[in-house]
């Protein structure tokens, strides 16, 4: 199977401090589902930043869609970013835009014509259960609603990789399950999913998912071999 992401000896250091991430070696494959776990401060968000090209590593090689993302010229980054959907931990919705406009943003950035984006955005709003909140601004939405807008914005452009940082952190358990099902549905359509979470209960909800665990900036298994999360007790032999 062709790889979609490969990290080789990747390290990340902010300023002159110690390395936030060190010696990361792993490969992600298209159409797979990955959980990234670890305690708060383990470096999950930093790793995701490297994945969605918000940060360049201090050392090592990152290959993304078969190309070297570390030495890639800055001008080429936007094209690659459009292939990656991101759900930020703090949502990062544009506060003065409505839910509709926030979700439509990736399509507008990609140059989709106005008449061509109304239907998919409306469908996406319905999909995340916010069909009646299209014109609401983020400040008037609850935390869970904001999170769903953020997820809808991340997936509207049908990205090849979806990166989600604690996507269920602000929603009730039922909504968390619904969101995971949404990710799973996307995954079955071929999108590679990487979900960072410290909620170990979620891990068993996607049986086919693989897990990466970060401890103090390093993968728990430094060889990069990923393992499947433990099965729910009722499914264990």
């Amino acid at each position: 199977m062709d790889e979609i992401v490969r990290f080789e000896n990747v390290g990340l250091r902010y300023g002159a401090g110690t390395e936030t991430l060190a010696d990361l070696n792993f490969t992600l494959y298209p159409g797979s589902f990955y959980f990234l776990t670890g305690a708060s401060g383990a470096g999950k968000t930093s790793l995701l930043k490297l994945l969605y090209l918000s940060q360049r590593p201090s050392r090592g090689v990152i290959r993304l869609f078969g190309e070297d993302a570390v030495t890639m010229p800055r001008e080429r980054l936007p094209g690659f970013r459009r292939r990656i959907g991101v759900v930020f931990q703090d949502f990062r919705l544009v506060p003065h835009l409505s839910a509709f406009d926030n979700i439509a943003l990736p399509l507008r950035v990609a140059g989709v014509r106005e008449k061509d984006l109304e239907t998919p955005v409306a469908e996406m709003l319905d999909w995340v259960g916010l069909g009646d909140r299209a014109s609401a601004r983020p400040a008037t939405l609850s935390g869970g609603e904001q999170q769903r807008v953020a997820i809808a914005r991340a997936v509207i452009g049908r990205p090849e990789i979806l990166v989600a940082d604690e996507p269920t952190g602000n929603v009730d358990p039922d909504m968390a399950i619904r969101l995971l099902q949404l990710f799973e549905a996307l995954n079955t359509l071929g999108t590679t999913i990487v979900v960072a979470t410290h909620d170990i209960h979620l891990l068993s909800k996607i049986p086919g998912a693989q897990m990466m665990r970060l401890e103090k900036g390093m993968l728990a298994d430094p060889t990069g071999s990923l393992r499947h999360p433990p099965l729910p007790k009722d499914q264990q032999q």
Partner: protein
């Protein structure tokens, strides 16, 4: 071209700011107002200098300084006759004595002046072109045998210090235009940076969603260009009003030199183009500032 200025509704919402809401259009209006005045002054002086210089550079005066009025009259008539035969002379006019007296009356009074002071005979020459010093020398030589006391003086000599002064003012005016352009650019840089700071989070999100530097800078460029155009038109209106007032007052003075301090149609065309030039200056400055700032982030 016009399409550039039509900001789609969603883009307007992305970087929201009301028209004339910030200081930027007003700063630009003041800058353009001052630029219009400085440009008008510079152009008016160029115009005046050109007119006066063209008029006087090809003129000369022959003075015949002879105490005996009879000899002076004969020498003057002979000199005028001789001068009319020279190819470089276009027009010869022997000034009548009453006209000479009128010329010096403001300084010496008009009471039987010719009886008390031996006034020189004056011959006003209009040359076919601006003569060289060698040609003036040959003029003097031609007159020496007819009127030994004749002095040939190019009119440009009288006006040279005035032209030099006007040229200095002209350079000062155009220097001011340059300084105002720099100040406008600086104001745009400050405004663009401030707008970037205000919208840092939005820009970061658009970037991470795959927005290019060009897409983001275009939003700011259009906004600043519209602010600059709006401010520029206000400044032009104010500046043009002042120029019109001043030109009305100059016309009322009815003085020859002052009359030539006017603006022709192409000067007005240049002045009318100032807001457009200001807008392009603001656009280019905004683009360079925003692109420069965006390049600092990944």
């Amino acid at each position: 071209m016009l399409k550039f200025f039509v900001i789609p509704g969603h883009d307007r919402r992305l970087i929201p700011e009301g028209r004339l809401s910030g200081p930027m259009p007003w700063v630009i209006a003041i800058m353009i107002f001052l630029t219009v005045l400085a440009t008008a002054a510079g152009l008016a002086m160029t115009h005046a200098m050109g007119d006066v210089s063209d008029e006087l550079s090809s003129r000369a005066t022959v003075q015949i300084v002879e105490a005996n009025p009879g000899i002076r009259g004969r020498q003057a008539a002979a000199a005028a006759k001789q001068l009319r035969t020279l190819p470089i002379i276009e027009e010869v006019r022997l000034l009548p004595s009453d006209e000479i007296e009128a010329l010096i009356e403001p300084w010496l009074g008009g009471q039987d002046l010719a009886d008390d002071i031996p006034l020189p005979a004056l011959i006003d020459l209009k040359l076919v072109r601006v003569a060289t010093e060698a040609e003036y020398q040959s003029l003097r030589s031609a007159l020496r045998s007819i009127a030994p006391s004749a002095r040939v003086e190019p009119s440009s000599g009288y006006i040279a210090p005035v032209i030099s002064l006007v040229r200095s003012f002209q350079w000062i005016a155009f220097g001011l235009v340059g300084l105002l352009a720099l100040a406008t650019g600086a104001a745009v840089i400050i405004s663009a940076r401030s707008a970037l700071n205000t919208h840092t989070e939005t820009i970061a999100v658009v970037h991470l969603l795959g927005g290019t530097d060009a897409q983001i800078s275009r939003l700011f460029q259009r906004r600043i260009a519209l602010d600059a155009l709006l401010g520029g038109l206000l400044g032009l209106a104010g500046g043009s009003g002042i120029i019109w007032l001043i030109s009305t007052q100059l016309t009322a003075l009815d003085s020859g030199l002052v009359q030539s301090v006017g603006l022709n149609w192409w000067s007005w065309l240049i002045i009318a183009a100032i807001p457009i030039l200001g807008m392009f200056l603001a656009m280019v400055t905004a683009k360079l500032t925003v692109i420069g700032a965006l390049k600092k982030i990944l």
